[in-house]
Every structure is written in C-alpha cells, then in structure tokens.
C-alpha cells in the first residue's frame, strides 16, 4: 500500500550514528523516566512504558514498513499469556518468562506474517484481522488461558533469581530497562541498512524489486520483528499487572495501538511514545467518565485523521524541520 501520498515528512537517511538531537531527547527521556516513579504511581508509569513499546513496535510495521496490521493484539496478547503462564505454572524467573512470551510472539509473527505479506493494502489488514480473531478464539477456548478469568495472580518473582521484584520501584526499573532497551533497538533497526531498504520498498515497491531486493523477505522480517517487540511489550505488561486477560487479545486492542501511533505520528521515532502516553493517561484519569472515554477517543481519531495526519510529533518535526 502506498502511504507516500499522505504528506508525512520523511526523515532523511541517517547513516552515521544517532544525531545529536535524538541523543538529547533519549537522554532527557531516560532522566525523566528515572524520576517518574517518584512523582506518579509506579504501576501506572509501567503501564505507560509497556504501551509505548507496543506502539513503537507497531510503528515499525506501519510507519517504516508501510503495512497496516489490524491484528497486532494477537502478538501483544499471546505473549502476555505465555509469559504469565511461564511465571505462574512453570515458575520461571521474570526475565525468562518475558523472554518466553517474546519468543512465542516471534514465532506467531513469523507464521502469520508468512501468510499475510502475500496480500497488500486493505487485504493485508483483513488477513491480520482474521488471524487475530482466531488467536482470540484460542485464548477464549484453551484451558491454560483461563477463558474469561484470564491467568490471575502471576507471581512477581526474583530477577535472575536474585533481585526481588515484589517492590513496585525495583519492578519499575526492570520494566524501564526492558522497554527503553526495546525502543532503542527499534531505533537501531530503523536506521540500519535494513531500515533503508524497508523505506525503499514502502516508497516504491516495483522499483525495489527491480533493484534486486527480495521484497517479500524484507516484509516478512519487518513483520516478525514488529510482532516480536509487540510481544516483548505484552509479556512485560503481564509481569506488571500479574495477569493476562482477554482484553489484551481483543480486536479493540489492535484498534487502540493504531490510534496511539496515528495520534503521535506514524513514521516518526518519538510519535508512538507520545501517542501511547496520551492515550494511557487519558484512559487512566478519565476512567470515571465511563463511556465518555470512548467518545473522546473517537473525537481524537477524527481530528487526527482530518487535521493532523502527521500526528503530534510529525507536526513538531515539520516546524523545527528536523526528523524526530
């Protein structure tokens, strides 16, 4: 699908290391996140970081791969189930539980991706939706997922068998390390030669083919990577909340991550993080308004599509004339 006619500013190729501006932003972000648990409720801050990573992973596929998946909840949710199961039933330590969830998402991503990338545009979106619905069905029916109740009371365990994560603050820094590391890795992928080829494919697929690139292999790789990082986010979330539930695999979760990415600015590095932060904060602080949250989300969607197709960060990037 050609997303190039959308007027989104495309960052110029960044071949030589990370530009100073990005370094500064990452540094400021890291400092901010290090003091955040002492300012707001740590569990809320952790939720925020998990969704930021989820949105960033999704953005790798949509913003840089040009592929709209409508079924990313499948990877987020299944990783969350596997990680919860691993920690609770197999008694694995948190880092191994998260790892097993992530691996599960990667395998699932590879399998679904191999089938889905054979289609384009809206058909691609529909194939991913179809598979996500099947994953949801399995989550509802399978024994180990606990059906409607989900997997509850997942123990928090000891990191590497040594450091107790029962305390919110120590867990927070574990989550910070995982999600921040994840986002940095995504950054690295986007700015690698692989990322450049992706960009070429997104801009002009026939041309990339004529240059001798095996387009499908690249698409499958980016799909799998995106699924893997989405899984990393989901697996981490299950350790934070100590549960995995159907919410994580439902199609509305797939819709939410699209919203976050779109709102923040797809195809930007920092956009999805901003989008996730806004949506999660909104859900948290507007919870008492009940259905109004849905209305407000809808309004943001509409305004975003009508007026800010570049997203918040995209607009800022245009103002300061620097890629963000």
């Amino acid at each position: 699908m050609a997303m190039s006619d959308t007027g989104i500013t495309r960052p110029a190729a960044q071949q030589a290391g990370m530009p100073m501006l990005h370094k500064i932003i990452f540094l400021v972000l890291l400092v901010f996140l290090a003091v955040l648990p002492f300012m707001v409720y740590p569990v809320f801050a952790m939720k925020l970081m998990c969704f930021a990573l989820f949105a960033a992973a999704f953005n790798l596929l949509l913003g840089f791969g040009g592929l709209l998946s409508f079924g990313h909840a499948a990877f987020f949710g299944s990783a969350s189930y596997v990680a919860a199961h691993a920690a609770k039933v197999w008694g694995l330590t948190p880092e191994l539980a998260v790892l097993s969830g992530t691996v599960a998402a990667a395998i699932l991503g590879l399998a679904i991706g191999a089938l889905a990338i054979r289609r384009q545009g809206i058909y691609f979106a529909m194939v991913t939706l179809a598979f996500a619905q099947m994953v949801y069905f399995v989550a509802l029916q399978a024994q180990f997922t606990g059906g409607e109740d989900g997997i509850q009371s997942v123990p928090r365990g000891d990191l590497f068998g040594l450091i107790s994560l029962r305390d919110n603050v120590s867990l927070y820094f574990f989550v910070l390390a995982v999600t921040f590391g994840g986002v940095l890795m995504l950054y690295r992928i986007v700015h690698s030669p692989f990322g450049q080829v992706l960009k070429a494919i997104r801009e002009n697929e026939p041309r990339a083919i004529s240059l001798g690139y095996n387009v499908n292999r690249y698409k499958l790789m980016v799909f799998t990577l995106s699924a893997t990082f989405a899984g990393l986010a989901g697996a981490t979330k299950s350790q934070v909340f100590q549960l995995a539930s159907l919410t994580d695999v439902h199609w509305t979760m797939s819709g939410e991550v699209v919203l976050m990415t779109l709102l923040g600015g797809m195809g930007t590095i920092f956009g999805p993080l901003v989008g996730a932060a806004i949506i999660v904060t909104m859900q948290n602080y507007l919870a008492t308004f009940g259905a109004w949250v849905t209305v407000i989300q809808g309004v943001i969607f509409v305004i975003g599509v009508m007026l800010f197709r570049e997203g918040i960060v995209g607009v800022i990037a245009r103002w300061i004339k620097r890629p963000l």
Binding site: M1, A2, M3, D5, T6, L68, L115, R118, R119, G121, I122, Y123, A125, M126, V127, L129, A130, F131, Q133, M134, Y136, F137, Q141, W251, G255, V258, L262, G290, A291, W292, V293, T294, V295, Q297, G298, V299, I300, F301, V302, G304, V305, M306, R309
Partner: protein
C-alpha cells in the same frame, strides 16, 4: 429416516432456515458496505454504529413521536441516510484523494463516537421494541416453528438486496455511478454532477445499514453495542464476497449465514470464529474474493 452425523434432517432443515434469516442481516449490511466501497473506495467502519442507530431511531420514533414500525421502516433509514450525508460532506469528502486507510481510520473514530454517545444516554441494558401486531405469532412448518417476523426479515432483505443490485447493475443511473467511479472527470464533463452522486450513494449505503437496524430492533434488544461486534463479521463477509462486488456481497451474506447456522449445530463454540477462518482461506487462495474481479 437416516440421520446426518446424529442430527435428524428435519432439525437440520430448521437450522438452515435460521441460518438464512441471520444471513439476511449479513446480506443487507454487507451490501451497504460493498456499495460504499465499490463506488467511493471508502471502507466504512461506522457501518455497525449506523445499523445500531437505525434501531435506535425506530425506538425513538415510537417512544417520542408515537410513530410505529411500518413508517419507521421508511423513516429511520432516511434519517440515518441524511446523517450519513452530513458526515460525508463534512469529513469523508475531504479524504477521497488519500489512501483507503484514512477513510477506515476516520470511520473507526466516528463509530466510537456514535456508540459512546448512545451508551451515555441510553445505558447498556437494551431497550425493548415490540414486534408489530401484524407480524406476531408464527407458522408451524412441521420441522420447526417459524415466527412470522423472521419470515418477514428474509422477504424484506431479499427484496431490498435484489432491488439494489438491479438499480446499480441494470439501470442508467447505475451505469452513471459505475462510470463515475472509473473516471469521475470524464463523467463530470458529460454534465453529470459527480460529487452529488457520490454523496447520495454514501447516503444510500448508510440507509441500508439503518434499514437492517430497524429490521433487527424487534428481535434483538436495541442496545448501543449491537453493531460493534457485528461490523467485524460483516467486513469479513464483504472481503470474502470480493470488495466492491454487489452480487458477491449479497450472495456471500446469505451463504455465510447458512455456514454459520451449520457450525452452530456441529461445533457451536466455533460459530463465532468460522467466518474468519473462511476469510483467511479465501484471502490466501483467491484474494479477489469469491465473486470479485481480479484487482
């Protein structure tokens, strides 16, 4: 009598008939989506919300204005259609030059807004809407008891679906429409008001959703979420039938109703997912859909 996998043939016949009834809703809804997609290239995610709106408008007409079922069957789709036209003029019309995905995202947002608003004002429990007197009761068909109203649903949907198909594929107006989507500039040059035509088409597609909503009001409770999950299924129906194929959408709607009905007998737990399995298979092996032209 012989039995098929332990199910007596009479019971199976009953289940098939019920499948056909559900298929009627799929057919009318997917027809609306297909009309909009085929002629406007917009994937209308708000279709489920507008279907729900149709049911609510019927309920409001009855409770606030004392207008009964039969006038509502005409009025509610009109009101929903006009509402759709407003949306088209204000928002959708500004997105035609962009990728399909923006239309999808916009209508997704609209669906959230519409459903959220109704949920705020009418709660979630659902509101009762009585079956009109002329259609209460039913027929004993021997193998099952068929409520008159369900029979009416099948008849009404068949009439509307094939009427629409005829209008688009066989009349002059339909020919203009099809031509306008192929080459709007050329058709405009012949003196046809293309934007007006597109606007009315969207209004019509949306009115079909409203019509399905009124049909559904007496048998399912009128509630703000009634379209939320249905929309995903109807999407699948359109994709399976072939995006933009009018006849494909209609036939697939009835066909999938039947398949779903059979699944409910042989593997009831799977009836919510069977359509997605079929969609995945169709997309992988015949991506243009069962009735679609190769893209």
């Amino acid at each position: 009598m012989f039995e098929l996998l332990g199910i007596p043939p009479q019971a199976l016949l009953g289940q098939l008939l019920l499948g056909l009834i559900n298929g009627s809703f799929y057919a009318v809804l997917s027809l609306g989506l297909a009309v909009i997609f085929g002629l406007l290239n917009i994937i209308n995610f708000a279709h489920g919300a507008l279907y729900m709106m149709g049911a609510f408008v019927a309920w409001m007409l009855l409770n606030y204005a004392g207008i009964g079922y039969w006038p509502a069957l005409i009025l509610a789709p009109l009101i929903v259609g006009v509402f759709g036209i407003v949306l088209e003029r204000l928002m959708l019309s500004r997105l035609y030059h962009l990728d399909h995905l923006y239309g999808l995202l916009l209508t997704f947002g609209l669906a959230l807004i519409i459903q959220g608003l109704f949920r705020n004002y009418y709660g979630i429990s659902g509101l009762p809407y009585r079956i009109p007197d002329a259609l209460s009761g039913g027929y004993n068909l021997g193998f099952m008891f068929l409520p008159k109203y369900r029979g009416w649903v099948v008849v009404a949907s068949l009439v509307v679906c094939f009427g629409t198909w005829f209008m688009i594929e066989k009349t002059r107006l339909g020919a203009y429409l099809r031509a306008a989507t192929e080459n709007p500039v050329l058709v405009g040059a012949f003196g046809v008001n293309v934007p007006l035509m597109i606007m009315l088409t969207y209004g019509f597609g949306v009115a079909l959703a409203g019509f399905a909503g009124v049909l559904a009001a007496p048998i399912y409770s009128v509630n703000p979420n009634m379209g939320a999950d249905l929309i995903i299924v109807v999407f699948a129906v359109v994709v399976i039938g072939g995006m933009g194929s009018i006849m494909g959408a209609i036939l697939t709607g009835y066909f999938l109703g039947l398949i779903e009905g059979l699944t409910r007998v042989f593997y009831p737990e799977g009836s919510a997912v069977v359509i997605f399995v079929i969609m995945a298979i169709v997309l992988l092996f015949k991506p243009e859909g069962l009735f679609g032209r190769a893209a």
